[in-house]
Structures are given as structure tokens and as C-alpha cells.
């Protein structure tokens, strides 16, 4: 069951991976009283005819799926905090999902383990380029896996040193963007 925002994020990134995306960008931003989560990809997206049903909890295109509650639940938790959720096709292909929660709203799910969620997905998808942006009103911290790969050459992202690097780099971004409960 999806209990925190990190799990929503995992769900969105996994959707993008399943859609065959080669580029996935993930952004978490604190703007004023809002927390915004955005995931964009260049995957095969959701067909026009299915888009209106994307937030219908009883609808899925996945055969014999045990889940499929991801997007409806995302919309529900965002709207429950006075926020919004939009799911749109990008011109040129791919999807863009943006959800907003009231940061201080008592019904906002906790952030959860953002670093521990993103690192495994990034590290085990060597054919996908990720851009991670963490920001607030003051500025944006950015990680591009393409850039990391350029410097690493043939070293796989699941090399223990690289895993540790990715973890500490993302944690630095989380701290920079003040993504911390109670702040």
C-alpha cells in the first residue's frame, strides 16, 4: 500500500520505466506552502482514450494487475491537502505527472525515504538517463546521471562505491532543498 510520498514517487518512476522511457526527469520542489512532485518521461505514455480513466481506481491497462491504484491514490492524497494532480501527455511523446500537496497540511503523507527509493531505481536502469531536481524558492540542486556516467566510464552504477556516491549526493540535494519534516 502506498503510505508515503517516496512510494508515490517509486510508483511514477516504475510507470515510466514500464513505458520504455529512455529519459526520466524527477523533480521535488518546495514552493511557499506547497510541495510539488513532477515526473516526466519520453515513454510510450497513456493512449488518448485511456487518459480520462487514468485516475479511475477501477481501471488499469495492465493484465491481471494487483495494483493500478497508483495514480488515483496520488490524485486523492494531493487533493485531500488542497493540492492538485495533473496527468498529461507531452507534445512529442511521453507523460508528465505533477502533484502538489499542502506542505503543512495534516493529511499530507510523510516524505518517506526519497534517497533509498530513487537510488535503486536509478542504479538498476543503466539504459535510462535520469535527471533529478530538488529545489525550493532559493534555488535548485540537480543531478544528471548522464553526466555521472561520463565520468565513470564503464563502471556500473551498482558498484558499491557508486551506490554510496549516489546516496550521499542525493542526500545532499534533499538537505539543500530543505526536504525534511518539521522544517
Amino acid at each position: 500500500m502506498i503510505e508515503d510520498l517516496a512510494m508515490h514517487l517509486a510508483d511514477l518512476v516504475e510507470n515510466s520505466l514500464r513505458a520504455g522511457a529512455r529519459h526520466i526527469s524527477v523533480a521535488l520542489r518546495r514552493h511557499g506552502d506547497w510541495l510539488e512532485m513532477e515526473v516526466c518521461d519520453d515513454g510510450c505514455g497513456i493512449a488518448d482514450r485511456d487518459l480520462p480513466r487514468a485516475v479511475d481506481p477501477f481501471y488499469t491497462t495492465k493484465p491481471r494487475s494487483a495494483i493500478g491504484l497508483g495514480l488515483p491514490l496520488l490524485a486523492q492524497t494531493a487533493e485531500g491537502t488542497g493540492g492538485t494532480c495533473s496527468i498529461a501527455r507531452r507534445t512529442g511523446g511521453g507523460m508528465r505527472v505533477v502533484a502538489r500537496w499542502g506542505w503543512e497540511h495534516p493529511d499530507r503523507p510523510p516524505l518517506g525515504d526519497i534517497v533509498g527509493t530513487l537510488v535503486p531505481l536509478i542504479a538498476t536502469s543503466p539504459e535510462v538517463e535520469f535527471t533529478v531536481e530538488l529545489g525550493d524558492d532559493r534555488g535548485t540542486w540537480r543531478l544528471r546521471t548522464g553526466e555521472v556516467r561520463e565520468h565513470l566510464g564503464e563502471v556500473p552504477f551498482t558498484h558499491p562505491d557508486v551506490l554510496r556516491f549516489l546516496e550521499s549526493a542525493l542526500q545532499e540535494g534533499i538537505d539543500t532543498a530543505r526536504m525534511k519534516e518539521g522544517e
Binding site: 520505466l17 495494483i67 565520468h151 564503464e154 551498482t158 558498484h159 557508486v162 556516491f165
Partner: protein, 127 residues
């Protein structure tokens, strides 16, 4: 980003590779399709990467893949060695950690969790 850190990692990894005289010894593939994730593949994947980091396994590569057509036995984990592919079923976090400790590190497959094991031609690299 600390790019000099990446450069150091690359240099160290290149030296390890020279010492080892070849590419990665083992590839671990985790099935991350919808049914796998519903069955707990996220926790499985995290446990494997955690063991790789904790045990400092520098000659192992971990990747994920979509549905494996073995929905009833998910989460599925494959261990690819130069001569053999071993497929494990119903790999929860605990089994995942044991696969790394017993099979990947000590070379002893966990027979009670093996779904399939097949030999592959030895002249092909594991990936």
C-alpha cells in the same frame, strides 16, 4: 556534484578490473514488473543493493527487468554466472540477503528457492 570523487571511483574500479582480469563475475537481475512489485520486488531489490554495498561486492552488477512470465512465483531474482543462470522464486527480503551471502559470495545456491537452473555456453560473458 563532486566530480573528482567519480574520477577516483573510476580509477579504483579500473585497477580492480585489471587485477581481476575481466568483467563482472556475476550479474543479478530482479524482476520489477507490476506483479513483481505488488509481491514485494522493491524490498527485494533494495535488500540486494544493500548487501552489495555492505559486503563491498565490486565484481557484481545488479539490474532490473519487467515481467518474467512467472507471476505466481514473484518476486523473481536471476543470478547469472559465466556458465549458469539460476532463477529464484518468491524472493522476499530475507531470501534476497541469503542469495547474496550464500550463492553470490560463497557459490552455494539456495536449492529450496530455485525455480530453474540452466547451463549456458561458457564462451559467452555473463552479460
Amino acid at each position: 556534484m563532486r566530480l573528482d570523487e567519480l574520477r577516483k571511483i573510476r580509477e579504483r574500479a579500473a585497477a580492480e578490473l585489471r587485477l581481476r582480469g575481466g568483467a563482472s563475475r556475476i550479474k543479478i537481475v530482479v524482476g520489477m514488473g507490476t506483479s513483481g512489485i505488488a509481491a514485494g520486488a522493491r524490498q527485494t531489490l533494495r535488500a540486494i543493493l544493500d548487501e552489495v554495498t555492505r559486503r563491498d561486492l565490486r565484481d557484481v552488477v545488479v539490474t532490473q527487468t519487467g515481467e518474467k512470465g512467472l507471476a505466481a512465483q514473484e518476486p523473481i531474482v536471476e543470478v547469472h554466472e559465466p556458465m549458469r543462470i539460476t532463477i529464484y522464486g518468491e524472493v522476499d527480503e530475507g531470501v534476497a540477503r541469503r542469495i547474496v551471502a550464500e550463492h553470490v559470495v560463497n557459490g552455494r545456491p539456495l536449492s529450496e528457492h530455485v525455480v530453474e537452473s540452466r547451463e549456458v555456453p561458457g564462451d559467452q560473458p555473463p552479460h
